[in-house]
Structure formats: structure tokens, C-alpha cells
């Protein structure tokens, strides 16, 4: 008797149940906790679908980093609520919002129902590409990310930078160039400091390991970068380090390093290998690892900056 299909059904049911809880929870904090649990369950689903790379990303980014982001955002929302009493929207506005939401849901449902059978897939092409220039890498996922769809991968990092710029631009003009507010209370609890001191070195090591091993096994720059980002966040929460000034040159360099190195390599590919973003096959692996190292840096810098929020321009800056 094989129990696995039944376990899969239970898992799928759990995911849907937690998703419903997350949407319907009246309390913002409960909703965020539900979302984090949802992300972890989704990571299990990805593992069951034999996609450990996606599972790692989901656990680190979808659940971990986004969870911190949402908790921080929820706190700020809660603070806002006390300042301005919420104004009840008009009935027509409510109706319109509801209709619009229903329309989007219908459109999404129709798009899924109208998928041609068999659905169009780029997988065969990607599989060929994974055997191409990136074949020096043992991990086909990294080969596809860095060789078949390198342009998308680079643009993803640019989106991250744009998001950071968006967060920074929310700050007041006066605060521009200053540092974001510290993540936690003036005096952090001792267990928090202990956790940060022990976990951060280990986490950094594991993050670099996941990046390095990404060439041959599940892992890669995004997963490793998310771990490094989490370690930076935890040290900021324990007040072992403070959020940096946003006009610090090293921070801005770290943010743009990934896409910049990627782009320079793409241009070099145009000259050396005859195609934008092409790599000479014999050098593909070192070049890809070189680019990924800088992307790791950019991701590790961008995610904590998203969590830290806009600069506040405190007197001590």
C-alpha cells in the first residue's frame, strides 16, 4: 500500500485551508502568521513536485523574508490606525471594488480553464539549453536561469533594486541620505542577541554554501542571498549592527553590483561569443559563478533594505 498520494492530498488540503485562514483572519498578525505557515507548506508541495530549488526559494523568500516584511508593515499599519480613524468607504465604492475583484478572479479562472491541451511549454527548449552553454553546471535549474533565460534573471534583480528605490523614496526630503530607523527597541532582549551572535556566522556559512553548491545541486544565488539577507536582518534586530545610511557608497555599489556585472558580461558575450548574454562554452561555469557571486551580494543587500524601510532622518544621523 502506498500512502504517499493520500499524504499529498492531505498536504494540498492543508495548503488550501491555511490560505483560507490567511484571507479570512480578522487580526492582521494572525493573518501574517497564517501566510508564513502557508509559505512553509507550499515549500513542502514544491518538494513533492520534485522542485527542491523552488522549495528553497519559497521557504527563504516567500515565507521567511516576506514574513518579516509583512510583520513590519503590519506594525506600521497598526500605528497608523491609531492616528487617523478609518473612514468607512461609500457603498458604491464597495460595490465597485467587489465587482472589480470578482472580474479579476473570473479572468484568472477563465485563463486557466482555456489553457490549450497540451499546454504550451518552453520546457523542451529549456532542457536543450541546459545541455548547451550552461552544461558545465551540474544543476540544470541554474543552467536555465543563467544561460537560457539570463535576461529575465537579470531583470528580476533590477526589479529588486527598483523596489528598494521605491521604499527609499517614501521617506521625507529631509531624511534623504540618512539611515532607516532601527528595526527594534533600544535595548534588545538577551536571547535575541545570543541567537544573532550564534546564528549569524553559521547562517552566512550556509548561505555561501547554498550559493556555491547551486552550480551542481539545488541552491543558487537567490536562495543563498536570501539566507545572507536574513542573517543581516537578525543582526540588525539584535542591534548588533545598525541599518546603514542609504547614501553610503558601499551599499549602493552592492545593490547594483549584480545586475551591472551581469550586463557587462552580457555585452562581453556579444563581442566574444557572438550573442548577447552568450558565454564561451569552455568558460561558462566560471563566468556564471562569477556573475552569481555579485547577484548574491545584491540580493543580500536589497532584501534587508526593503525590510528596514525608508530613511527617517533621526538627529543622530
Amino acid at each position: 500500500m502506498n500512502l504517499l498520494p493520500y499524504l499529498d492530498i492531505v498536504l494540498a488540503g492543508l495548503v488550501i485551508g491555511v490560505a483560507i485562514f490567511t484571507i479570512t483572519a480578522r487580526d492582521l498578525f494572525a493573518s501574517v502568521v497564517g501566510y508564513v505557515a502557508y509559505g512553509l507548506l507550499l515549500a513542502f508541495v514544491w518538494i513533492r513536485l520534485y522542485a527542491p530549488d523552488v522549495a528553497l526559494t519559497e521557504a527563504a523568500v516567500g515565507s521567511g523574508v516576506t514574513g518579516v516584511l509583512l510583520i513590519t508593515a503590519g506594525k506600521r499599519l497598526g500605528a497608523l490606525k491609531n492616528v487617523a480613524p478609518g473612514e468607512e468607504p461609500e457603498f458604491t465604492l464597495k460595490l465597485l471594488t467587489g465587482a472589480l475583484a470578482a472580474l479579476v478572479a473570473c479572468a484568472l479562472g477563465a485563463a486557466i480553464l482555456m489553457l490549450p491541451d497540451p499546454p504550451p511549454s518552453l520546457a523542451p527548449e529549456a532542457a536543450v539549453a541546459a545541455d548547451g552553454a550552461g552544461a558545465g553546471l551540474g544543476n540544470p535549474i541554474t543552467a536555465v536561469l543563467m544561460s537560457y533565460r539570463s535576461f529575465d534573471t537579470m531583470l528580476e534583480k533590477i526589479v529588486l533594486i527598483l523596489a528598494v528605490v521605491g521604499v527609499w523614496s517614501v521617506g521625507t526630503d529631509k531624511a534623504w541620505g540618512g539611515a532607516p530607523a532601527p528595526l527594534r527597541r533600544p535595548k534588545p532582549y538577551a536571547p535575541m542577541v545570543f541567537l544573532a551572535q550564534i546564528l549569524a556566522p553559521v547562517g552566512v556559512l550556509i548561505g555561501v554554501h547554498i550559493f556555491w553548491t547551486g552550480a551542481n545541486a539545488p541552491g543558487g544565488a537567490f536562495q543563498g542571498g536570501a539566507l545572507l539577507a536574513a542573517m543581516w536582518m537578525i543582526t540588525m534586530m539584535a542591534r548588533l549592527v545598525e541599518p546603514p545610511r542609504i547614501d553610503a557608497n558601499w551599499l549602493r555599489l552592492a545593490l547594483v553590483a549584480g545586475p551591472a556585472v551581469f550586463l557587462i558580461n552580457g555585452l562581453a558575450g556579444e563581442i566574444m561569443a557572438g550573442n548577447f548574454f552568450a558565454y564561451p562554452p569552455s568558460l561558462a561555469k566560471p563566468i556564471i559563478l562569477f556573475i552569481e557571486a555579485f547577484m548574491l551580494l545584491s540580493i543580500a543587500a536589497a532584501l534587508p533594505m526593503l525590510v528596514a524601510g525608508p530613511p527617517t532622518g533621526r538627529p543622530d544621523q
Binding site: P191, L195, L199, V202
Partner: protein
């Protein structure tokens, strides 16, 4: 020898599952947050330790066995510290 090792795995993992189950029952049944926290962290740490102990003979190499132990140590560290943090937050709210 393999039968013995299999038996060891089965016993250890079953015992681990029992402790995790007991911890979950405690989480659901205990009256207040502090006792629930106690049930969850203590029982789960022991349960996970036993599961990992049962998995070690089944690891492909010494390195993966070491990784399993590191995972356990990391979970111990994080659950011990976060339970302290949650406990302290509870005490602060109660005052």
C-alpha cells in the same frame, strides 16, 4: 546487521514521532501560552532529536549524517531562543 540498524531506526523514529505528537497534544490542550510553549519546545526538540538519531544510520555518508546533526542543533538553538523571546513578550504583556 542491517536488520538491527533498521530496527534501531524504526524504534528511534517511532519514539520521536510520539514525542512530537505529545508536544502537539500539549499545544492544543494546555491552558495558557506559557505551558503551551513549554510543551511545544521541549517535546519537539526531543522528538526531532530522536527522529534524526533514527535517520543517521540511513544517511548516505558521514557528511550527510553530520548535516542532519547540524540541522538538529540549529533547530535546538532557534527554538530555545525564540521560546525565551515569546515567553518574555508574554510576561511583558501581562504586567
Amino acid at each position: 546487521m542491517t536488520t538491527l540498524l533498521d530496527l534501531f531506526s524504526i524504534v528511534a523514529i517511532s519514539a520521536g514521532t510520539f514525542f512530537i505528537f505529545a508536544g502537539t497534544v500539549g499545544l492544543l490542550r494546555f491552558p495558557d501560552s506559557l505551558t503551551r510553549l513549554h510543551a511545544l519546545t521541549k517535546a519537539d526538540n526531543l522528538g526531532l532529536g530522536l527522529v534524526i538519531l533514527g535517520l543517521i544510520p540511513r544517511a548516505d555518508s558521514g557528511l550527510s549524517a553530520l548535516r542532519l546533526i547540524i540541522i538538529w542543533a540549529l533547530v535546538l538553538l532557534s527554538s530555545a531562543s525564540t521560546s525565551q523571546l515569546i515567553g518574555r513578550a508574554l510576561r511583558r504583556d501581562r504586567k
